[in-house]
């Protein structure tokens, strides 16, 4: 199907299914129940899952296949968002031109940075990309404020030209991004008993693009190009003596993954039309590295899982406060309740970073192949000895 072998096709179908039913799957707990806190099925977070999924998929094309560890990939995401917001400001609120421009701008940016950075390898390459990204951040936050909005981020304003849409600002409210009349924030809710499921147009728009991006990444993994990239990671010397020039391949991979990042940035701006410079800070670049490693470097689905995991913790764990804890453990006798709450409290709410750090350590210590390996172990545990598990369907983790 779609030029994929059976294994890949079923992986794609599974992902498509998960994505399509995410509003149900992510909201397993009924409204009003104590566990509702763990529901993640609201539009913003679902959008973030798929957008960061795209970002990580793209990053994995570079890092997972070639082994080149870029520490400045967030710059492309940032550039993509700025490009998209400028399109909203100048042209129209239609997301298509914005996303297209975001991808092109990020790709061009990646071409320049990649051309220079790829002259070095290993940690020297990592530091070069880091340096470019940090420069982008520092300039965007300060001297480039007229272009980037600086500290407050680039925002839409009532008096933006938007040459293709003249009457939009009439109500005194800034129009919202949409696709030929359908607004990204449109959603409808389905109430089933005490469950509420939200179906958001923006989410499904992102989801479709993510599936396309995922499909393309599978095709790249399976293509001669992908094989060359893996050969670069495996033995660049042999590749050179086999008559292949590794540089254009790595540069192409760098630009492609930069375009994925730009796509993610463009989608982020389309869901929420603001682009902040913090998106380009080194911690943001570090985050996508962590997502990829956490999920499983070089695996097809790993980066998406890693992205989901980190975004879930950031958005769900950080919102649990002591009040909610007390609510959960109200059934316990008072003294015990307080004790349990005191013990859990450091790990939730403002302590979510602590939990994140611990999860990083536990995953990398016990699951060297990332979450994908965890999934395999789990699958084996339940006796479903699948001959072709996701790991062999992809490449080995980084060495």
């Amino acid at each position: 199907m779609f030029g994929l072998n059976k294994k890949d096709a079923s992986l794609l179908l599974i992902v498509a299914g998960l994505v399509a039913f995410a509003p149900f799957l992510l909201n397993p707990f009924p409204e009003g129940s104590a566990m509702a806190q763990f529901n993640a099925g609201y539009p913003d977070l679902m959008q973030r899952f798929v957008i960061f999924g795209i970002f990580a998929i793209g990053f994995n094309i570079l890092f997972g296949l070639t082994g080149y560890l870029s520490f400045g990939h967030a710059a492309f995401l940032g550039v993509g968002s700025y490009a998209a917001v400028w399109m909203f400001k100048l042209l129209s609120m239609n997301v298509l031109p914005a996303i297209v421009l975001a991808v092109i701008t990020a790709g061009a940016f990646a071409l320049i940075i990649g051309y220079v950075s790829l002259r070095r390898s290993g940690i020297y390459f990592s530091i070069l990309t880091l340096a470019f990204a940090q420069m982008s951040f520092a300039l965007a936050y300060s001297v480039l404020t007229p272009i980037t909005g600086g500290e407050t981020g680039l925002q839409l304003a009532l008096d933006d030209p938007r040459i293709l849409e003249s009457a939009s600002a009439s109500e005194g409210n800034i129009p919202v991004p949409g696709l030929f009349g359908l607004e990204m924030r449109d959603s409808f809710e389905m109430v089933m008993g005490s469950w509420v499921f939200t179906f958001n147009f923006g989410y499904y728009f992102c989801a479709v693009i993510m599936l396309i991006a995922f499909y393309l990444s599978i095709r790249i993994f399976r293509s001669p190009f992908g094989m060359m990239l893996r050969a670069i990671k495996s033995n660049q010397q042999r590749l050179n003596y086999t008559g292949v020039n590794p540089r254009p391949y790595t540069l192409a991979a760098f630009v492609i993954s930069g375009m994925y990042a730009g796509l993610a940035g463009g989608l982020m701006a389309s869901m929420d039309p603001l682009a902040g410079a913090e998106r380009m800070f080194w911690t943001a670049s570090g985050e996508v590295v962590l997502m990829t490693i956490l999920g499983g470097v070089g695996t097809l689905i790993g980066p998406v899982l890693g992205a989901g995991m980190i975004k879930y913790m950031e958005n769900i764990i950080s919102k649990i406060n002591s009040d909610i804890l007390h609510g959960w453990f109200a059934f316990l006798p008072d003294g015990l309740e307080d004790l349990v709450v005191t013990m859990i409290y450091p790990f939730i709410g403002k302590g979510w970073h602590l939990t994140l750090g611990i999860v990083f350590m536990l995953v990398v210590i016990f699951l060297p192949g990332g979450l994908v390996e965890g999934g395999q172990k789990l699958a084996n545990l339940f006796g479903r000895k699948k001959a072709d598990n996701p790991k062999s369907a992809s490449t080995e983790p980084a060495e």
Binding site: F63, G67, L69, V116, R119, R120, S121, G122, I123, Y124, I127, L128, L130, A131, F132, Q134, M135, A138, L139, Y141, S142, V143, L144, Q236, W282, T283, G286, V289, L290, I293, L294, V297, P346, G351, H353, L354, L356, G357, I358, V359, F360, M361, V363, V364, I365, P368, P397, A398, E399
Partner: protein, 343 residues
Amino acid sequence: MDAIILQILNGLDKGSAYALIALGLTLIFGTLGVVNFAHGALFMIGAFCAVTLSRLLSLSHEVAIPGQVDFLGNPATRDVPYVFDIFGEALGSSIIDWAVPLSILFAIPIMILVGVIMERGLIKHFYKRPHADQILVTFGLAIVLQEIIKYYYGANPIPTPAPEAFTGSFDFGALIGFEPNTIIYPYWRLVYFAFAAIIIGAVFAFLQFTTFGMVVRAGMADRETVGLLGINIDKRFTIMFGLAAAVAGLAGVMYTPINSPNYHMGMDFLVLSFVVVVVGGMGSLPGAVLAGFLLGILESFASMREVIDIIPGINQVIIYLVAIVILLTRPRGLMGRKGVMED
């Protein structure tokens, strides 16, 4: 001219901090081949050793002040440190005053212990693992360490002043024939520079002139061969990790009077120190020190008003710009060896 001398002093001072952190980082890279993202956290823990000691020394009990009330209208109290009770008020207050220098003694064993525990408990298991895994696990560790500090000490910076004797500044210009007040420099920063020079010198001397150091240097150059000689290199590397942790920690202790420490100071330094190490060249100790001072001085020059007026924003990017230029002209940084961390 005076402005340039002043910025060179500033650069040397900034460079001292960079060089000290980069030195430890390179020791770990070079000996263990581990990308240690928790190295900034070690610097931060060192700083908090100073905070902790000064808090311990200032542990007090309350004494009521007759006739005064606090903001809620309750009887006001005054805190009297226990050290006053033990040593008397005069000696007691000078002990508290000297908390930061005293912390050096306090920090060395703690940092070595932290380093050794870290190496034996965690890092050891990652020698053979890919660099990506090392990054993830040490980054996770760094987050955990800083969150623990945040939990106990809060997020705000904590003032940790230098001893009274070292506050104020020294008229450096008058000494070398300039007008008074043109080149003044804080005493503590001069102390910091001297301290860094001593530590760096000590580390080099240790590696150069002791058998232990020779083995470690040989191990940095070619680990397998040294292992074949039947020398237990692992044990020495553990000690090296402790040593690197101590260097980072001491850099942190002495840094506290310059900037009040906070829980994320390690992360603030992390990226910079990686840049310094790489610009210096992977695995090269002299390179790390040289790059530290070079970047410190260039950063200082770039922050001069005259420079910013010509190139706006140069102060924001100078370090990265220099790093890019150096890495493009010198493939392995200033003094890097071939083949270290290049794949």
